[in-house]
């Protein structure tokens, strides 16, 4: 009797053990949280969606997806076609090139330090998260023209993708494609420019760069003889991106008359006070992301300075801060602008060059992982 009970118990233990080990083998191990993740204190707070924590597996998957032409309907372009690392993930074109060679509406945006700054994406702020943003160019018939169901089917056909999705999230799905791409983009952190090193006390700015920094950080006030480039009224002092709070990171910077003014943020909010408002871009690596503005109309940083110095076009929604900022007490002419001297403009441009992060632009972790496989 006792012997029978013992045998039955042993059999049960073996059965449970075998079953459990089968289940454990079928379940992927927990994804590895990104361990060496750090960012400068001065960048401030950020948040990562609870349902998409930063993990090594998600990053590796997102990186591969970002560079894989399989994401487009014709298998001929990837995210990296318009977001090239050495150009700080822009494409050097005034506006992105469509599938048929046509010029699209907006300039490809630089991808850097996306954990901070605005929590809306695209020039007109139409995406409310990077997860939401990531799928829109894939589906856009003029950009990557891919059907998401078709894409999921394709990726499920790949043993490697099945494994990578299983390790990062579980199943292959459009939600998990978005999550992985968002993770890759969130990890594109640049904190190694000369300006960053200056902030950490590791580098000294030249006299010209320091003058440029001071001008960047000041709103001009002729009453107290303070000269300023007024950059900081839209570009935050440490991140150099637009502000995070609400819609503070969107502005009309005086490119067009009211009749020619595109809708911009108004297309998203429906508020006429937002007509011609566009996302204030980060200025990190700005020296390598020409041409400039949402439609790439300005070729060089000199052109950009000339715009703010004397080419501002007045419209009803123009930022009052841009309309007001003037370094001359009683404006001699009838134009709106900063009225900085040539050497002051050159100083601001010299400071902008200190925002280039060479290590970021060539960081192997952000490069094409498929290149080594071919």
């Amino acid at each position: 009797m006792a012997r029978q009970r013992w045998i039955a118990t042993a059999a049960a233990v073996v059965a449970i053990g075998t079953g459990a080990s089968y289940v454990i083998r079928a379940l992927p191990p927990d994804p590895t949280p990104v361990a060496d993740f750090s960012a400068p204190f001065v960048f401030g707070r950020f948040s990562v969606p609870q349902d998409n924590p930063l993990t090594e597996e998600a990053f590796a998957l997102g990186r591969r997806l970002f560079y894989d032409p399989a994401l487009s309907g014709g298998n001929d372009r990837s995210c990296a076609t318009c977001h090239i690392q050495r150009l700080a993930f822009t494409d050097g074109l005034p506006t992105a090139a469509g599938l048929n060679g046509e010029s699209l509406e907006f300039s490809s945006m630089s991808l850097v330090n996306l954990l901070w700054g605005q929590e809306r994406f695209f020039w007109d702020g139409r995406a409310l998260s990077l997860e939401q943003q990531a799928l829109l160019p894939i589906e856009n018939p003029q950009e990557m023209a891919q059907d998401l169901e078709e894409l999921v089917r394709e990726l499920k056909g790949s043993r490697q993708y099945r494994r990578m999705f299983r390790q990062a999230y579980g199943e292959v799905s459009s939600e998990n494609i978005a999550r992985a791409l968002a993770t890759f983009m969130r990890m594109l952190i640049s904190a190694g420019s000369k300006y960053d090193r200056f902030l950490r006390g590791e580098a000294v700015l030249t006299e010209q760069e320091e003058l440029g920094r001071k001008l960047f950080m000041a709103h001009p006030d002729t009453k107290v003889s303070l000269r300023g480039g007024n950059c900081i009224d839209c570009h935050s002092q440490f991140l150099t991106s637009g502000f995070r709070d609400g819609l503070d990171g969107f502005s009309n910077n005086g490119l067009d008359k009211d009749v020619d003014l595109p809708a911009g943020l108004m297309a998203v909010t429906g508020n006429p006070a937002h007509k011609g408002f566009f996302k204030v871009p980060t200025l990190r690596n700005i020296a390598v992301t020409a041409p400039y503005m949402h439609d790439g109309r300005l070729q060089t940083l000199e052109d950009v300075m000339d715009h703010y110095n004397g080419g501002v076009v007045v419209s009803p929604t123009l930022s009052p801060l841009i309309l007001e900022a003037d370094n001359a007490a009683s404006p001699p002419g009838s134009f709106v602008g900063l009225r900085l001297t040539d050497s002051e403009k050159a100083a601001i441009i010299a400071f902008l060059h200190t925002l280039t992060d060479e290590a970021f632009l060539s960081d192997a972790r952000f490069s094409n992982p498929l290149e080594g496989e071919l």
């Binding site: 401030g44 950080m217 009453k223 900081i232 009224d233 935050s236 440490f238 995070r244 503070d248 006429p272």
Partner: protein, 246 residues
């Protein structure tokens, strides 16, 4: 149990009785209360209208519109019969916009049963103003930061004035330690705190220009770093917040 002597049972009963009495008379922890400070942006006694040339320059020519109006309040303190409560990291950016003419600051877990005194500052203390540490709503990468060498703007008003068909910008960025204004509100009676209590305040934007001193926006279209101008407007904004009837 059967072996327990009666004397022991009496001791036990006495102890339980003492515990019950102590429990009944002990000052219990008050329930964690909440207080919502609700700020309503107004002009001329009406809800503030944004983005339209709706208002007459109160002390000069022209019509003006409000495009941005926000300010920091800090160091909120409540005092009542059972003590005072100072909110930790008490830095709040009160901000308004079209469709958001009221803004609520929520104080949670207040260890008081009631309060009759309430104080806070417009602006922030010197220590916080000299720091780049993000605390409460302080953010050195926000619109409210001048730059780390200057500190924070306390009160921001941006808009424009139409004068002889010209649109003139109005930019009042007011800061500097000397322009923090400490406000004290005494209530006529002790008010109970609960999980739903609220206090309403009116914020009259016109007080910026017609408070202690009359300010003509056509004449002075911007105030930023000029200490005298900033002080004049600080005297005015010191009176822009008042308790509204609940």
């Amino acid at each position: 149990m059967s072996g327990m002597k009666p004397i022991h049972i009496n001791v036990l009963l006495a102890f339980l009785l003492a515990l019950t009495v102590w429990h009944a008379f002990r000052k219990t922890d008050p329930p964690a209360s909440q207080l919502r400070l609700v700020f309503q942006a107004e002009a001329n006694g009406q809800k503030l209208v944004f983005d339209q040339f709706h208002y007459k320059n109160p002390n000069g020519p022209g019509q003006f519109r409000v495009q941005n109006f926000r300010f920091y309040i800090s160091n909120i303190k409540l005092s009542g019969e059972d003590g005072t409560y100072l909110e930790p990291d008490s830095y709040h950016l009160v901000r308004f916009g079209a469709g958001n003419e009221s803004f609520a600051v929520e104080l949670n877990n207040i260890p008081l049963r009631s309060y009759s005194g309430l104080s806070f500052s417009i602006g922030i203390d010197e220590q916080a103003n000299a720091s780049i540490e993000p605390r409460g709503d302080l953010d050195p990468n926000s619109q409210m930061a001048w730059n780390w060498e200057v500190g924070y703007k306390f009160v921001v008003f941006e808009g424009s004035l139409i004068l002889d068909d010209a649109i003139l910008p109005l930019v009042y960025h007011l800061g500097f330690d000397e322009n923090r204004r400490d406000l004290q509100f005494s209530l006529p009676a002790e008010e109970q705190l609960s999980s739903t209590s609220a206090k309403n305040f009116k914020v009259d934007v016109m007080e910026l220009f017609s408070g202690a001193s009359a300010f003509n926006m056509a004449q002075t279209q911007s105030v930023k770093f000029d200490r005298q101008d900033a002080r004049r407007l600080a005297e005015n904004y010191a009176g822009m917040i008042s308790i509204a009837g609940n």
